[in-house]
Amino acid sequence: MEWIGAITAGIMAALGVWMMLDRHLMRVVLGIAVLGNAINLGVLSAGRFAGTEAAFTFAGQTLQNPANPLPQALVLTAIVIGFALFVFALSVLKRTHELHGDKDTDDVSQVTEQPSPDGGEEQDPAGRGQGRQ
């Protein structure tokens, strides 16, 4: 079972990296999501699938082949966190798209390299009040 998980994780990681190398920001963010899921599967596989019984015992009882609950708990945590970060990345992307049009990775670097606007950010927050619902 582990080797199926490991190979799937490997293929998904390759897909994720390939998407992250794209110029289009949407594909970069989706690539992160795919890579994240590949890594979740990898962590689950690294924790072994051999156990067949739930690791839950009563006093005096022993289990023949208990499953390791820890990797599942880890991956569950990672999925939840990964989902939150993914949603945040998507919302930043959506906002950028709505206000400033489509961006690819080169545009993004170019915009951040521009000289800082005069008048000082202190008094003039770029796009004050924007970015909130």
Binding site: G47, L99, R128
Partner: protein, 496 residues
């Protein structure tokens, strides 16, 4: 005891929740947030006092014995990091007071800063690899919100760069944690340390740990993985970038120091690699700064270069060098955040943070010139300020270890740092302002910002003048890092 050990995380989280409850009343939020930051600072100072008495606090969350439960350990290094986090957190929030920004914006900054502080403090006190990952994610989501706050094309683009590369680093860390668990069956740092110190670690465990070091190196912005930092830090709002500059990369440095000293107390192949990485980080960071013409972009590259010094101390692996790294960490966080704060005030007075459009500050406000000169000279390593002692110890440690190359690069980087700082000085302070009538037209700005810069400068001077006690603390911390008694004893109460 058990309540004390979770306080560094509990205080910011409780502050965040309380502030959220009254989020419609901005004055209340500000009050709660400042009180919370002060509480965190006091907690940190108390922890330092406890740690200085050679007491190491340890705790098992939920009463689950190690290695099954999550262990927390607060030793000297953790304690001082929590204290310094409190200092910078409070400084940032005071700087934000009465800034001419929309009230909602300031409220949001207060809220997210506490979320970020909770993550940072959590990372400093945990002794569990997966728990460290969770704290990284907590601080990451807080920092994402802070860097994007306010919006605008430039800021959102910078936030995107920051977001993608930091998410990637954290994912690598998750994979590494999974691989280490798969190879060793444990996530407890103490048990991993026992395994590696007994040289019983398998190749697979090594692979996982190396991947972990790579992910920490991205977080700490080491050569050649530092590209995201100078590309994104300068787009955030000034106090936010000061907070990031002070604390965020240092969480990565802390994680590197913790893991490397735990697993390899004696010099190993890892230290050899880190030594070259450290030299390259120092020199390339400072050369990158030379090409920049904006205050915060220059300072961002200096963060990279300064991180190199800390890693140099780690790579040399002698007790003196490690103590130097700890000293450098303490000194650098204060100085670097302060330079960003002063840069913010200077940008406000001159109306720009482009050096070409700045000038005349020395004639206009000599006080600001002093406030800039103290951290700038300290960063470059001029005696008797804190940076001199930090660099002195590291250079001495390199020479004692016979690594002339490292001492050479450390000194060379110091010279270049001084050049960079004098560039800001000449352009921003000495040169006449290109449009003299613009200078200071916006007023001196909120008093809180000036107090922040003043108090941080005083701390720098105090660390410099009182270098003896700080160095003693750092020496004891470095012995504790190498021997790691608390970590190795975590498993003593373990059922067979």
């Amino acid at each position: 005891m058990n309540t004390l050990i979770v306080l560094p995380v509990l205080v910011p989280l409780a502050t965040l929740l309380l502030a959220l409850l009254v989020k419609r009343h901005h004055a209340w939020v500000t009050g709660i947030s400042l009180t919370g930051a002060l509480m965190l600072l006091l907690t940190g100072l108390y922890l330092v006092a406890v740690a200085a008495g050679d007491t190491v606090l340890t705790g098992q969350m939920g009463g689950w014995a190690a290695p099954y439960g999550i262990s927390l350990v607060i030793d000297r290094l953790s304690a001082v990091m929590v204290a310094i986090t409190g200092v910078i957190g409070l400084a940032t929030l005071v700087y934000c007071l009465r800034q001419p920004m929309p009230a909602d914006f300031l409220r949001d900054v207060h809220l997210f800063v506490h979320g970020l502080l909770a993550g940072i403090c959590g990372a400093f006190i945990t002794a569990d690899v997966f728990n460290l990952y969770v704290w990284f994610e907590v601080l990451l989501i807080g920092s994402f919100a802070l860097i994007a706050l306010g919006g605008g094309e430039r800021r959102l683009s910078g936030a995107m760069i920051y977001l993608v590369l930091n998410m990637l680093a954290t994912l690598l860390f998750l994979l590494a944690a999974g691989l280490v668990y798969g190879a060793t069956g444990t996530l407890n740092m103490g048990e991993l340390a026992l395994l590696f110190r007994a040289e019983q670690a398998s190749d697979a465990a090594w692979l996982g740990v190396i991947l972990m070091l790579i992910s920490f190196s991205i977080k700490a912005a080491l050569f050649p993985l530092f590209g995201w930092l100078p590309a994104s830090y300068h787009v955030a709002w000034t106090p936010v970038s000061a907070l990031f500059a002070g604390l965020l990369t240092k969480v990565g440095v802390y994680a590197l120091i913790r893991l490397v000293t735990l697993l390899w107390p004696e010099p190993d192949v890892v230290h050899g690699v880190l030594l070259w990485v450290a030299c390259a980080t120092m020199i390339i960071g400072v050369l990158g700064a030379a090409a920049q013409t904006e205050v915060r972009r220059i300072l961002s590259f200096h963060i990279v270069s300064q991180v190199g010094y800390m890693i140099l101390g780690l790579a040399l692996a002698t007790p003196l060098a490690l103590a130097g790294a700890v000293f450098y960490l303490i000194h650098h966080i204060v100085v670097k955040a302060n330079l960003f704060f002063v840069g913010g005030i200077a940008a406000r007075l001159t109306g720009s943070e482009r050096l070409a459009a700045m000038g005349g500050l020395y004639a206009r406000t000599p006080l600001l010139a002093v406030l800039f000169a103290i951290p700038a000279l300290s960063l470059a390593g001029i005696p008797p300020l804190s940076g001199f002692w930090a660099k002195f110890v590291l250079v001495k440690a390199s020479l004692e270890a016979g690594v002339w190359v490292a001492a050479f690069f450390a000194l060379l980087t110091g010279v270049f740092t001084l050049l960079s700082m004098s560039k800001i000085w000449n352009e921003g302070f000495l040169k006449a302002h290109p449009q003299p009538d613009q200078l200071g037209s916006a007023g001196r700005g909120p008093a809180g910002a000036w107090y922040t810069a003043g108090v941080l400068a005083l701390i720098t001077v105090a660390i410099g003048l009182g270098a003896g006690p700080v160095m003693e603390y750092a020496m004891a911390a470095s012995r504790q890092l190498i021997e790691a008694p608390a970590y190795l004893q975590l498993l003593d109460g373990r059922p067979d």
